[in-house]
Amino acid sequence: MKRLDVQGFKDLANQLRFSLSDEEANDIKNEFDVLIDQMDLLNKIDTEGVEPMVYPFDEETSFLREDVAIQVLPVQEVLKNAPKEKNGFFVTQKVVG
């Protein structure tokens, strides 16, 4: 499994729009090294001839929801968790130039 170095984690954080100090990046790298060692253990299991499984049941379903607008949240509820709101909008820091 691919291992990231400290710079790799900093680049990843940048892509996700937050920054990491050297110390934080180093901590994360060390934690990931442990995780990846465990993944490598899993990778050693022989899965030859075993189909990938996504869903716990093999059965296909057929349910489709009827197109009825039945459930809407009051705007006060919608905005309840917003750190900042204005005129009914969620307000965030601008992330594009």
Partner: protein
């Protein structure tokens, strides 16, 4: 150097449903921000998506009309990326198993029919709408979760003209199916265009750029022209085209760099675990296909069969609301060509596209049908018809208007004969001209008679009597 333009088009199209793709919240049309959302659209923890049946039906319809092979097992995948317009941190889409694959549409171009292959059609959910202010971004989640289909063409398109024809035809088909309202300017149909150049006669594609979010057919043409110009200038100067996403700026008529493609973004696609595979009932698919509304090409052929010119048929079908109106009008009159003329010129000049679309006009179609029939039978003159039409537009009835405007048909043979007599006496030269084969003279004489009768002479009868009178005077 001579270059060939290679174009592929991705179209995102909002489906006309009442509720969202995966939630029972209403699809918003011009609503206050964040008033059409629920926990599912906001990506709250513990919620489960539930697929909208109508969205699937509309997708099946679109696939059928675009000749795509339908995959009867619907599966979804997660596209993971981190951005403020995407509350869950992933978009539910169909990366691995699109509902439709390998279709095509045929374009009628001046040089003949050209087939554009369609690679795929898949279902997905729309994102929130963002408004970028000076130092902050405002987010409205009303659009989040709105059902979308994305239609991806093969790189078969070779010019701006073909690109316009492709989008126009595709949009027209989707509007006829009532799958979408297709309003590009309002964003319910959005267009991204991939453009590259290659030397004429070579096989390998050049480096492409993607021009995002074109909001009108004419902007598609201008954006392609601008981008082709830019790329060929680069290549001619020995430079390279950089793979990038660009946008078209209408003010400067150029494309502007949005972001460079630094390696492909890893969206970490994987199957959506919260939606197990759903098998569509084959009978249901067939019933959708057999109830498919009339497509524009079929309607065009029907109009030609009714005796309309190719031009008139084109004008009518390119405007579905107008064409639907025309079809309703035909239930009330059999004068097809006259009805078409009235729809194309008089109706469009007096009724806005919006009124036509919403059927919010006062005009009664059956009354207009009577008018067309009256005109066709020459009970009324075309001048009288125009005067009556002005009143019908206000919602009045045909017969009442005839009375109100004092429009009388003079059909009394003796009165008409006297009129004809006096006009002929004043225009002897015209009689000679007529007998010398000048058909215009007949029109002139008719005009004089109509004028003298203040437009009230029965045109059909007058015409007949005039011809008889002229025959008598043949030297």
């Amino acid at each position: 150097m001579n270059y060939e333009t290679v174009i592929g088009i991705e179209i995102h199209c909002e489906l006309k449903t009442k509720s969202k793709m995966f939630s029972g919240a209403p699809v918003a049309v011009n609503m206050q921000p964040n008033t059409c959302v629920n926990e599912i659209d906001l990506g709250h923890p513990g919620v489960l998506p539930s697929l909208n049946k109508e969205a699937v039906r509309l997708s099946v319809l679109a696939c059928s009309a675009l000749n795509l092979k339908i995959n009867p097992v619907v599966r979804f995948d997660r596209k993971n990326y981190y951005y403020s317009d995407l509350p869950k941190g992933f978009q539910i889409t169909q990366q691995f198993h699109p509902i439709g694959e390998h279709g095509y549409i045929d374009l009628e171009l001046e040089e003949g029919t050209k087939r554009i292959r369609i690679n795929r059609l898949h279902m997905e959910e729309d994102t929130a709408k963002q408004y970028h202010a000076d130092d902050e971004t405002w987010i409205d989640f009303n659009r989040a979760g709105t059902p979308l289909i994305e239609i991806v063409s093969e790189a078969d398109i070779r010019s701006a003209k073909e690109a316009m024809a492709y989008v126009e035809k595709l949009r027209n088909i989707l509007v006829y199916l009532d799958v979408t309202d297709g309003k590009m300017e309002e964003g319910s149909l959005r267009c991204d265009i991939n453009i590259s150049l290659r030397e004429v006669g070579t096989e390998a594609f050049g480096v492409k750029t993607e021009v995002k979010n074109l909001n009108s057919i004419s902007n598609i043409e201008r954006a392609i022209q601008a981008e082709v110009e830019r790329q060929s200038a680069l290549l001619n100067a020995g430079d390279v085209v950089e793979q990038a996403t660009r946008r078209y700026d209408d003010g400067t008529k150029t494309t502007i760099l949005m972001r460079k493609k630094e390696g492909t973004v890893d969206y970490k696609y994987f199957p959506e675990p919260n939606i197990p595979p759903i098998r569509l009932d084959q009978k249901w698919i067939e019933s959708i296909q057999t109830s498919m509304p009339e497509l524009p090409d079929v309607r065009h052929a029907r109009y030609i069969g009714l005796g309309l010119s190719d031009y008139d048929a084109q004008v009518l079908i390119s405007n579905k609301a107008l064409s639907d109106f025309f079809d309703k009008l035909l239930k009330h009159t059999s004068y097809v060509k006259l009805a078409a003329n009235y729809c194309i010129s008089d109706l469009l000049a007096n009724i806005s596209q919006k009124e036509l679309h919403d059927e919010s006009y006062a005009l009664k179609i059956e009354e207009m049908g009577q008018l067309i029939t009256g005109l066709g039978k020459q009970d009324i003159s075309s001048k009288q018809a125009k005067d009556i039409f002005v009143e019908l537009l206000k919602g009045k009835d045909y017969q009442a208007t005839i009375k109100e405007l004092n429009i009388e048909q003079v059909s009394d043979t003796s009165v008409l004969s006297a009129l004809i007599e006096s006009v002929l006496a004043e225009n002897e030269q015209s009689i000679i001209d007529y007998h010398n084969g000048k058909d215009r003279a007949l029109g002139f004489l008719m005009g004089q008679i109509m004028k003298k009768s203040k437009g009230q002479a029965n045109p059909a009868l007058t015409n007949k009597l005039l011809l008889e009178e002229l025959m008598k005077r043949k030297a």
